[in-house]
Every structure is written in structure tokens, then in C-alpha cells.
Symmetry: C2
Subunit: 397 residues, 2 copies
């Protein structure tokens, strides 16, 4: 197979790994190339290559983007891949991943990588948890075993995993519970300070996380606090967790002018095509979401006709690709009729092909937005994008 990218990336990786620690220069410069309104086109330097922003990142929860080889992930146009601290800590263990050369080497993704802090998962996935000022005690969703994350522990795990971009440990609250979001925000700030102090690897960029639910005052306060920590980038947490679209976009409107211009902004866990468009126009640089791959495993595909359910009998003899304008491997190669057959016959290749398409669709939507920011056509194109992708937030035919 022809893999020029991997060959080059392997070289870069080797350099970073084998150079004596003292020589490694932290590279995490963000260059803001051009803005249009709040929308930004930039480049963020990482030890595994330059990351062109805005960018959408596939999620490789357990050190694999489900059903795809790294070659196939690369083929979707992906440049940044996310993996999950909570999952890798439980299985196979962060020390094992460290000893296998870090998460890049373990899963053989040699471009930029990002790990979350595990905070969101211990609150949402683990069976029980107890939060105190020091950290969170929780039980594994796999075997019920008891574990404890603190900011220091989360950073230690992420230092072991070795992603280029890592996250401060944070507490995510119900966005409409005013008392809790204030308390969680204040604790997130104290945990951010402890995360920065615990962080040991200059070849990893630690991002602080802004919280504050959908309360504009808290969001501005949190943006100020986290900005003052001067981390190489800033994440926006606590959105896409149950609030309305209107409230999510309003919160991004508040944050757009409140965050420093000279750092990349990462909106965690978002989202739908519409969310990406609305996010970019509000200054977001980095997105990640399980939606494209999760939908794919449930037979759904993003398309200009809305979200298609490929199990539907209407596709039985449909010789068109999922999206006639799409340049992904799936759309360039297979008919809806074939993918529908795979779904009905319970062939897992359906999930692979739909994952390729859905990832390609979101990644290239964001790439297209970047190109239009660079050439000054972003604002005029937004209505057409919103129109093309309307209906993909919910289930189509």
C-alpha cells in the first residue's frame, strides 16, 4: 500500500521520541492566519505535525476509531484524532500504552492526537461516583472496580498516554442547574491550576477548560480565569450536554470575544453538521464528536437529503451513492443498494463504509469552511451550507 504520509509521520514521531528530553522544544505555536467575523483560519504546531484549523477530529475512544484502520482514518481527511483517557486508563492501562511507545505508536496514528481528561466519562459513564474537592471516586463501567481520578492522576495518565494535546481535569454540570454550574466551575478552575502544576511533559500541550453552563456571566468569568493560566489552547466544556441549540450558540456568542485570539479554541464533543457551521462562525477551531461513527454503526448517513437510514427498503435498488457530490471512498465506490444489503445481511462492512462517509462529510465540511475563511467567502457561503446540511441533526428517511 502507498502510504507517504505514514512514512513521513513516522520520521517525525521518531525524532520526538528519541531526542533527549532537554532538546525538545515545545512547538505549540498557534498562528491566526485570517478571520472573517469571528470565524478563524489558523495553524497549530504540534510534535506530530501542523494542525490546520478549524478542524473536526474523529474519536478513537479505545485507541481505535471504531471499524477503521489508521489508513482508512487518514483517507477520510482526518488530521487530528482523539482518544479517551478514562477508557485507556481502564483498558489496557496507561502504563502499558506508555511502555508500548505511547498512544500514537500503540494505535499507529502518527498525526496529531488529543486526549480528554476523563472528567466527562467518570461523570457520565461510570456506575457510581463521589465528587469531593480533591477528585472523583468512581466504579468502572466494565467490571465495577473502584478507582479515583484527581487532577494530578488525570494528568499523570495523559502524560503516560502521550497525546500532543491533553486536557485539564474538569467537572461538567447540568447546564440548567444554576447552583451546581457555579460550584462545578469554581472547582474546575481550582482543578485547572492543579492540572497545570502536575503536567510534566513539554511535548504535550495542556488545555484549560472553560465551564459555566449556559450562564453568560459565569462563562465570561471562566474564560477570564482559564485564559489567565496561559495554557497553549483553551477548551470549551459543558456544552452539547442537554442544553438547547439556542443556548449552546448563545454561549458560544458570549465566548467568541471573551477568549484570547492567539490560542486555539476546542469545543468538546460537538457535533452535527449544523453545530460545526454555527461553531466555526463563532470562532471555534477544534471539534470532536462520536456522532459520525456512532450513527454509522446504526446504519445512518449524513446526506443533503437529511440523515439517511440505510436499512430502509427505499434504498433496495438505489444505484446512487449516499451523496452524489461526496468524494469519499464509500461514495466513489458503492451504491446505496449495496450498503443496504450489507445492513440487512448484518455485515459489519456497512459500519466501516458508513463511518468513512460520515467522517469524510464532517471533516470536509470543516475543511471547506477553512478554505472559505482563507479566501474571504465564508459569510456568503454559510446559508448554503446550513441549507445543504439541514435535516441532518435528526433522523431523515
Amino acid at each position: 500500500m502507498y502510504r507517504p504520509f505514514l512514512t513521513l509521520a513516522t520520521f517525525v514521531f521518531s525524532f520526538v521520541t528519541f531526542a533527549p528530553a532537554g532538546i525538545i522544544t515545545p512547538m505549540f505555536e498557534y498562528e491566526l492566519i485570517v478571520t472573517q467575523g469571528h470565524a478563524r483560519a489558523g495553524v497549530f504546531q504540534t510534535p506530530h505535525g501542523a494542525l490546520e484549523t478549524p478542524v473536526f477530529a474523529p474519536v478513537g475512544t479505545q485507541a481505535t476509531v471504531k471499524l477503521l484502520t489508521p489508513d482508512q482514518v487518514e483517507g477520510t481527511g482526518a488530521s487530528l484524532v482523539l482518544s479517551n483517557t478514562y477508557h485507556l486508563y481502564l483498558r489496557p492501562g496507561d502504563e502499558l500504552v506508555r511502555d508500548m511507545g505511547g498512544v500514537h505508536n500503540f494505535m499507529q496514528w502518527h498525526g496529531p492526537m488529543l486526549t480528554d481528561s476523563g472528567g466527562f466519562q467518570v461523570f457520565s459513564l461510570s456506575n457510581t461516583n463521589k465528587v469531593d474537592e480533591d477528585g472523583v471516586t468512581f466504579r468502572s463501567h466494565i467490571d465495577g472496580s473502584k478507582h479515583r481520578f484527581t487532577p494530578e492522576k488525570s494528568i499523570e495518565i495523559q502524560n503516560n498516554l502521550g497525546a500532543d494535546i491533553i486536557m485539564a481535569f474538569d467537572e461538567c454540570a447540568d447546564p440548567y442547574d444554576e447552583a451546581y454550574i457555579k460550584k462545578a466551575m469554581d472547582r474546575t478552575h481550582r482543578w485547572a491550576v492543579r492540572s497545570v502544576e502536575a503536567h510534566k511533559r513539554p511535548d504535550q500541550a495542556l488545555f484549560g477548560i472553560v465551564q459555566g453552563g449556559v450562564n453568560p456571566d459565569l462563562r465570561v468569568e471562566s474564560a477570564k480565569f482559564i485564559s489567565a493560566l496561559d495554557t497553549p489552547g483553551i477548551a470549551i466544556g459543558g456544552l452539547s450536554v442537554g442544553e438547547t441549540k439556542k443556548d449552546m450558540y448563545a454561549t458560544l456568542d458570549v465566548l467568541a470575544p471573551a477568549l484570547p485570539q492567539n490560542k486555539p479554541r476546542y469545543l468538546m464533543g460537538v457535533g452535527t453538521p449544523e453545530d460545526l457551521i454555527e461553531g466555526v462562525r463563532r470562532g471555534v477551531d477544534i471539534f470532536d464528536c462520536v456522532l459520525p461513527t456512532r450513527l454509522a454503526r446504526h446504519h445512518a448517513a449524513f446526506s443533503p437529503e437529511g440523515r439517511l437510514n440505510l436499512k430502509n427498503a427505499v434504498f433496495k435498488r438505489d444505484e446512487r451513492p449516499i451523496d452524489e457530490a461526496c468524494t469519499c471512498y464509500t461514495c466513489q465506490t458503492f451504491t446505496r443498494a449495496y450498503i443496504r444489503h450489507l445492513v440487512v445481511a448484518k455485515e459489519l462492512l456497512a459500519g466501516t463504509l458508513l463511518s468513512i462517509h460520515n467522517l469524510h462529510a464532517l471533516i470536509h465540511l470543516v475543511k471547506d469552511m477553512r478554505a472559505s475563511i482563507l479566501d474571504g467567502s465564508f459569510d456568503e457561503k454559510v446559508p448554503a451550507w446550513l441549507d445543504r446540511w439541514a435535516g441532518n441533526a435528526s433522523k431523515g428517511r
Copy 2:
């Protein structure tokens, strides 16, 4: 992605599809290049390209080699892919496949393809069946619905599917039931004649199937009968269905001199690495088996250490590839530790990576045998191959 093969193959496919039927010249010439003992190296011409024999074919039961894209199948070195008449008749239906441009176009495999007759599946998979002189009545393993296959129906389905190589409808018997194997052989002969008469497409090569269990006299009789039909190739059925290895190899010993030299010989549903070596030395040209992909989905890998179970804790920190000498994508890219993690974490990518390795191993074992027949070193290399692959017939560690 870089796909010179598919581009070329698409051209060939287009030519065959769109040329007026009268112009298509049946190409099914078999050129026997060289023999060493009974081992044969040859080339079989098909409308989708020249097939270098001996060859091992992956099985794409439901018009997909499970968990692999056609690109990945090609990457294993595969040149011939098998698909199943019984399965495609039931789902999505052979007429649908025909209307979608045939099985090549449907699944986007543009190299040579082969379909079986459905005979083996109606006897082994369907819930109930009734055999009479005219054909077999059976119930679908999917929904219990009632169906009937006759030689004419099997050929009609295979004409609709459109593979390059198709099979006469046959009856497969318990190899140790002397009375039944004689009866099934005689019926297989009558069905072979009816299959030849029913066959309508000059761009498909219909192979007759030799039966006769493990009875040498019946096998010679069947070889004579089927050879007299002068089909472009001959299949050996009714082996690898419960008989001992010794009996299987003895039967191949009987058939080696009894079959015509000028036609390719296809041993159906075989087999293990050892079976491939023993088959090639007994003159077999074409093999297929679900074993490599089925084992892969059960975490097992062929290796010189024997069959590895990648779920085993011994591989937890094993940084070696499955097989250090293997040039497949999986072995060139991933450690046993990573694949073991995928298996334990129930990530389906494990099945993909192991399928790639197992197919590559068998396909390249047969390619290596072909090269050694061509350069005259086959006989001297057989002991080393048998030694290298010993232990892969049964479960290793």
C-alpha cells in the same frame, strides 16, 4: 487512495459488460506452464483477468469478505474471490444483483470471481430439506421460508449473479456412507449434465464437480464422467466435510492422475496451511475456505508458532507483529499487544486486522508455492513449509 488495479479492472469490466453479447469470446483457456511431480503452475483466463494458479480465494459469502473493503482484500494479494449462491439468492436476491450490474459491480470486486452452486449450503445450512431426483426443497436459515433448488435454478441464479466461474449443482454426501456416496455421485452426474444444458452465458465458465466420498473407485469413475462433459474446469467436492486428513490426501492422490491435465482443478472449501501444501503437491489449482476470516473473527491468527489466540494474556505486552516474516499490512503496522487490546476491548478492528493477516498468509503461501513450481524448487521446499505451518491446523497458545 491509490488504486491502479481497480482502475484497470474497471476498464476490463466495462468492456465485458457493455460489449454486445455476440462479440464476447469465451476466454476460459487454461495454460499449464510447468509441473513438478503432480504440482502445477498455470494461468486461467477469465473475463475479469488472468488467474495465476495455484491460487487461494477468500470467501465473500454475502458479497463481502467479512470486515474488509475490496481495497483491503486486494491488499492481501487476493486475485480470486468466491461468493455464495445460496446466500445471495436469499438476500438480496439474484435478480437484484443482476440488475445492479452483477456481483462484481455490486460488491466492487473487479478481479475474477467464483460462485458455488448452493448445493453444499442447502444440505448444511438450511433448516430442513427434501432431496429428490429433480432437486432439493429447503427452508431458509434466515426466516424459515420454503425454497427449491434444481440444477436449472442454481444455474439461473448463477447466471444472474454473473461470476466468472460457476458450479454445477451437486449433492454432497457423508464421505463414509458408502451407499449414499454412490447414490449422491450418480445424481451429481445427472445434475451436472442438466447444469451444462441449462447454462446460458458464454462469459461464465461452468465447472463440473467430482464427487464419490473417499472411495477411490467412485472418485475415478466420477473424474471420468465429469471430465467427459468437457467443462472449462473441474471442481473436487465432498472433501473437508468430516473425513480424516489421511483419507482426504489419499483421495487427492487418486484424482491427481485421473483428471485432465489441461483444465484447472478446484478443491472446494479447503483449507488449512497444511491442506494447501498437500493439495498443491497433488495437483490442485484453486482453493477457497472461510477458515482464515472465520478464525480472525474468533481472535485466532496463523503463525509459525502455531495458531495464536490473540485474546491470550501472554500477548499483553508483546511488541512483536503476529509473524515477524509476514509482509501484510497488519504485521507491518501493529503489535500483538495492540491487537490483543482490541480483542479484549471488543473492538471489531481486531477482526479486520486478523482477517488481513490470515488471508495474506494463505494467499502468499500459495503464491510462494507457485513461484517454486516455476523455478523448480517446489519439492525441496515442501518440508520447510510443512514445518513452518505445523500446528496451525489446531489451536496453539
